[in-house]
Amino acid sequence: MTRTEINDIIVNEIKKVLENDTVELNAETVIQDIPEWDSLNNVDLEMTLETECGIDFEVGEFEELKTLADMIDTVKKKVN
């Protein structure tokens, strides 16, 4: 799995749960700071990554990841 693929999964999921195609996202975006983002959206994103990438997050692990880049790094490590 490449970084771009993981990035696409994350970006698409964020747009999907927020029902908002225009939200601006880049590697340094802090997920919690996205307007309207809440804990429910966060679980959505976590579980989507788990199913689509075939990985498992430990309890509390996902909350540690602040930016898109953090998420991509962690997922990449788990996939390989």
């Binding site: 809440d38 804990s39 429910l40 679980v43 976590e46 430990e58 309890v59 509390g60 909350e63």
Partner: protein, 483 residues
């Protein structure tokens, strides 16, 4: 020892502080750590030394199970279950046993005697923090394994009794850091400033509201309509200023030791929805229940769906309610909040707009009503309060009688409006001022983050500190000590 007592402010805190930095500088870091643990355990034992063995046992058992779990990956699941059983068992026995027996007796018509155990101080807080450490050890997320740092993480006196509910990952590195062992003047100035804000909130604001709230709840049956509203609002404000005042004092006291505790409040009464509220109120509890209850529960339900998420939310808030105390009022409080959060999510999905002021108005009133259930001794008292708030007798100020006397034909009376809660014009002024403070002002986290030493901040600190200390004649306990 309460944060607002003279023995804490003028003896314990200065001595704990001075010796800590003296030992760090002149003896060793190890001595500093041992000192802060002993000081914290002394602070804890000041109330009741009988519960000291319990907290020590809890620390030892949790630490050794966590270490064993990390050393023997094959048996880690058994260790985790053993640890969880120990923590939940301890909390269950001391906090919920009588509640369970009472309901058992009621349900089965039996007569099992109650145990009448006093709730060991802080047990709800230190148990949660250690469960997080245990679960993270299981998940391989624990890096800090130093026993002394772990013990300080659990016992550090500023946050020991009523939070903020700290996480080992944010605390243990701070206790291990060498940089934090050197006196930092900016932290001391900021710490004293924030401590003074908290002391003022507690002594001057919360304790004033406490008088009216306590009298009101003690005399529910005789209140008039305006008194009932004043009582419920007084409690709503008391709860916020009491708990956030306590938190400010904790954050300030910890800063003296160069330790940064997490933010616990972010102007919660500005919230315009229940999701928003729980992201602003007791934030460290929300963080804990989201990570360690809500998510694992939701994941255990299989493929995620909106409906399942709502069920998980209501379940989580039910647990959060019960965490506050062993009574049906807390259970109902939790479930109501769970339902309200679910309604909030449905509304958000519907994309129907709502004016900002209306969203605030609905949220604040929901909170005010739910805090009646939270405060009342039982549901009868709560229902009686609701009834009076909407259908109680209306009494207006005597002086208004001259102009509005014709209203008597509609059953409205004129007299001493606040006689049952011993309030007067001051009560109205306090409620209005409290609204202004919680809605229009920046909060203490903002002041902490923007603190600079100047003659103005010095003057503000001194005024708040002196007023609060001179008014603190009798030390009322903090509400969250009961949870």
């Amino acid at each position: 020892m309460l944060f607002n007592s003279n023995e804490f402010i003028f003896l314990f805190l200065p001595i704990a502080f001075a010796l800590y930095f003296f030992l760090n500088a002149k003896v060793s870091i190890l001595a500093g750590k041992v000192w802060i643990i002993l000081a914290s355990l002394f602070f804890y034992s000041w109330w009741n030394i009988n519960y000291l063995p319990l907290i020590v046992l809890s620390i030892l058992v949790n630490f050794f199970i966590s270490q064993a779990l990390m050393k023997e990956p094959k048996a880690k699941k058994s260790y985790l279950l053993l640890g969880l059983a120990f923590n939940i068992g301890l909390l269950g026995y001391f906090k919920y046993m009588d509640f369970f027996i009472k309901n058992f007796n009621w349900g089965f018509g039996t007569d099992v005697p109650l145990l009448h155990l006093a709730l060991p101080l802080a047990i709800s807080f230190y148990t949660l923090q250690q469960i997080a450490y245990l679960v993270d050890s299981y998940g391989g997320l624990v890096k800090e394994k130093n026993f002394l740092d772990y013990t300080i993480f659990v016992t550090f006196f500023p946050q020991l009794i009523a939070g903020p509910i700290v996480h080992h990952k944010e605390m243990m590195p701070q206790f291990a850091s060498l940089e934090n062992k050197i006196i930092n003047h900016k932290n001391i100035a900021t710490g004293i400033f924030i401590f003074s804000i908290g002391l003022f909130k507690k002594v001057v604001i919360a304790d004033s509201f406490a008088k009216w709230a306590n009298l009101g709840y003690a005399n529910v049956d005789v209140l008039n309509l305006i008194e009932a509203w004043a009582t419920s609002l007084s409690y709503t404000f008391q709860l916020y200023f009491d708990f956030s005042g306590y938190t400010d004092m904790a954050i300030g006291a910890a800063l003296l030791f160069n330790i940064k505790l997490p933010q616990n409040f972010n102007s919660p009464y500005k919230a315009t929805g229940l999701i928003d509220f729980w992201n602003r109120w007791h934030m460290t509890l929300t963080r804990f229940i989201t990570t360690y209850i809500y998510k694992p529960f939701l994941k255990s339900l299989g493929k995620i769906s909106f409906e399942k998420a709502m069920i998980a939310t209501i379940f989580t808030m039910f647990i959060a309610g019960l965490w506050h105390g062993a009574a049906w009022t807390f259970v109902i409080f939790g479930i109501l909040h769970g339902l309200a959060i679910a309604v909030n999510h449905y509304w958000k999905r519907s994309k129907i707009g709502m004016p900002h002021w209306l969203a605030w108005f609905i949220t604040f009133n929901f909170l005010n009503f739910s805090f009646i259930i939270f405060r009342a001794e039982n549901m009868d008292t709560a229902l009686s309060m609701f009834k009076t708030m909407f259908a109680g007798e209306i009494v207006l100020y005597e002086k208004f009688g001259a102009y509005l006397g014709f209203l008597t034909q509609y059953g409205i009376e004129f007299g001493d409006v606040f006689q049952h809660i011993k309030g007067q014009a001051q009560t109205v002024a306090y409620i209005l001022l409290a609204f202004i403070i919680v809605l229009a002002m920046k909060n203490s986290t903002y002041f902490k983050d923007h603190f600079t030493s100047s003659k103005y901040t010095l003057a503000a600190t001194l005024i708040m500190f002196i007023v609060a200390v001179s008014m603190a004649s009798k030390f009322t306990e903090f509400l969250y000590f009961n949870f």
